[in-house]
């Protein structure tokens, strides 16, 4: 039972991450390689809020979210005026800088040793000491809530402008909208979703270190978003389920542990290639990713 609940929790965390990525990729046509940086910033801010500030659940979550969204401005304000490839490169640079800080700034993050013993904040009395059932419920509430929020967001006039930017940026500008401003907002909201995932991850695993928030992780989230499909919500959910379940299937069919990660990589890679060729909008996506 605990095993299935663990999988559910991981799916929920990845739904949060992939939704945030989807907002950029599938709704705004922005390719970001630093999603894991915001995931990490959210996680470390959570620890800071819980351990150093002794905050309770909601204030800590709010602090992690808002702090991460503000951190996103550091990169979006100078770089979102740049186009296409330049922006991708800037996010890559940011990812590397953030990782390097997490890894090397020992007084702040305890560097490669990580931080253990992260307390689980009480959430409406749900979370018990053993954690797993309570956490399954909590993460489900959070991910369902986030899906609902996401739906409101993308169906609102704001979402319409984002999709307009995705399709024809210049036309949106010529309809009197400040495209730059909308991109900055989208980027911040996307970072906010990643921060919620970071919060959940840190308090669920109760241990974090920089290796969870690498460039690899960013690329992994990006591929999951593309495989599931972008430009709608169901694609993100499918993407999350797929990337969490697939390793388990590999385990079930008795592929030895030593080569399992490689097999996984190969499957993702192949799948991306096949999808790009035959079905560029991903398994269930709406938007055909072009750049």
């Amino acid at each position: 039972m605990a095993y299935y609940l663990h999988i559910l929790i991981m799916i929920n965390i990845y739904i949060l991450l992939i939704l945030g990525m989807n907002l950029l990729l599938g709704y705004t046509n922005l390719l970001s390689l630093c999603h894991a940086a915001f995931y990490g910033i959210g996680a470390y801010l959570t620890v800071f809020a819980l351990v150093k500030l002794n905050l309770t659940f909601f204030p800590a979550l709010a602090l992690a979210c808002v702090g991460t969204m503000i951190a996103s401005l550091v990169i979006s304000l100078p770089s979102l005026r740049l186009h296409g490839d330049y922006f991708v490169l800037v996010t890559l640079g940011f990812m590397m800088v953030v990782f390097s800080i997490m890894y090397n700034c020992v007084p702040l993050t305890n560097g490669p040793y990580g931080i253990s013993g992260i307390p689980k904040p009480a959430f409406l009395g749900l979370i018990k000491a053993d954690g797993i059932p309570g956490y399954a419920l909590l993460t489900t509430i959070l991910s369902v809530g986030s899906i609902a929020l996401f739906k409101v967001l993308v169906q609102s006039p704001f979402g319409r402008i984002l999709r307009g930017i995705r399709d024809e940026e210049i036309m949106v500008e010529s309809l009197g909208r400040n495209v730059f401003f909308f991109k900055v907002l989208a980027f911040a909201i996307s970072a906010g979703f990643a921060a919620v995932a970071g919060f959940v991850y840190a308090t669920y695993v109760t241990y974090i270190d920089p290796t969870s928030f690498t460039l690899d992780e960013s690329i992994f989230i990006l591929s999951a978003a593309i495989i599931g499909g972008t430009g709608n919500i169901i694609g993100s959910i499918v993407g999350a389920i797929f990337v969490i379940i697939m390793p388990e299937i590999i385990r079930v069919i008795h592929i030895p542990d030593t080569i399992a990660p490689n097999v996984r990589q190969i499957i993702y890679g192949m799948l991306l290639i096949i999808l790009m060729y035959f079905r560029p909008k991903g398994l269930l996506g709406k938007y055909e990713f072009k750049e």
């Binding site: 929020l149 739906k151 409101v152 967001l153 169906q155 609102s156 006039p157 704001f158 319409r160 402008i161 999709r163 307009g164 995705r166 399709d167 024809e168 210049i170 036309m171 949106v172 500008e173 010529s174 309809l175 009197g176 909208r177 400040n178 495209v179 907002l185 909201i189 430009g231 709608n232 169901i234 035959f278 079905r279 398994l283 269930l284 709406k286 938007y287 055909e288």
Partner: protein
């Protein structure tokens, strides 16, 4: 200048493109003076490469001129010099633009392509619809307006053409991955009903033309869609860059009618680049002829098109 009759006054605009590498730089626009009259249709004609689109880019702020000024007189006779403004600020004054090479938001539905044209910016802040009830109401109002406009602008062209669903998708699909097709159907159903606020539209949801992606429409229809999008906004001046180019004759008629309607009903002023001489003669009130970056002739369309030099240089007769 007198702002009541003139809406746009282009004065001495010059623009030089700097060539890359060993290419020579050249003057695309040289001391261009044009006046666009309020409530009238002004046509701009000239050979390909004469600099017409560049002039539009300068007016709408996508390109900076090297010298000259562009004055816009709004309804309250305030004067704005467009040269120092950014594209969205210029658009915010009520200056709409139809691009030569862009028409629609391809992955957005017909109805959304029109809705996005609304000048109503309230409620575009993230989650505004959760915080303010008025946003939903305003949205319903917009949808009703968009329905009206679509009926007026596209009306008969939609039914007569009989859209072919997702032509672009079908090709890739047909041979491989056929087994995934039901997924697509599922997804599009799931979306079609979710994609829009609860509005009167949901009652006529069977009319799924509204929810077709704009890329499913023919080129001519796409031009009409972008006119509908402009119709949705609250514009004082429209810059139309070859609205009828590459469109079949039936839809050309429709496009001209729609433009005329906009001018007559809403008092919009139009400045349009047009290659179709019949169209110019038919709907334009004034005409400018541009040759190699300079305006060489202007006057009534009949005069300009009747001028021997224009006929020789442009029409080749």
């Amino acid at each position: 200048m007198n702002g009541t009759q003139t809406i746009l006054e282009i004065d001495g605009i010059s623009k030089r493109f700097h060539g890359r590498g060993n290419q020579e730089s050249f003057l695309v626009l040289e001391d261009v003076d044009i006046e666009v009259k309020r409530g009238k249709i002004t046509a701009l004609i000239g050979a390909n490469g004469a600099g017409k689109t560049t002039l539009f880019n300068v007016i709408s702020g996508f390109s900076r001129p090297d010298s000259g000024s562009i004055m816009f007189y709004d309804e309250r006779v305030n004067t704005h010099n467009l040269v120092s403004m950014s594209p969205h600020q210029i658009a915010g004054l009520g200056i709409g633009r139809l691009f030569q090479n862009l028409s629609v938001f391809k992955n957005m539905s017909l109805i959304e392509n029109v809705l996005i044209g609304s000048g109503e910016k309230d409620g575009e802040f993230p989650f505004a619809s959760l915080l303010k009830k008025s946003v939903g109401v305003a949205e319903q109002h917009k949808v009703r307006m968009a329905e009206d406009i679509i009926g007026k602008v596209l009306g008969e062209t939609c039914t007569e053409t009989g859209l072919d669903p997702g032509e672009h998708q079908k090709e890739r699909w047909s041979q491989k991955f056929r087994f995934l097709q039901p997924l697509d159907r599922f997804v599009s159903r799931y979306e079609r009903y979710g994609d829009i606020f609860d509005t009167p539209l949901s009652k006529i949801i069977k009319n799924d033309v509204f929810f077709r992606d704009a890329s499913d429409f023919s080129f001519g229809q796409q031009r009409l869609i972008s006119l509908a999008c402009l119709f949705m906004g609250d514009h004082a001046l429209l810059l139309l860059d070859e609205p009828t180019a590459g469109v079949n004759p039936q839809i050309v008629e429709k496009i001209l009618t729609v433009i005329r309607q906009m001018v007559d009903e809403s008092g919009i002023s139009v400045f349009m680049i047009e290659h179709n001489m019949d169209a110019v003669l038919k709907i334009a009130d004034h005409c400018y002829f541009m040759d190699d970056g300079t305006v060489t002739h202007f006057g009534s369309p009949a005069d300009v098109l009747g001028n021997p030099k224009v006929r020789r240089e442009y029409l080749g007769i």
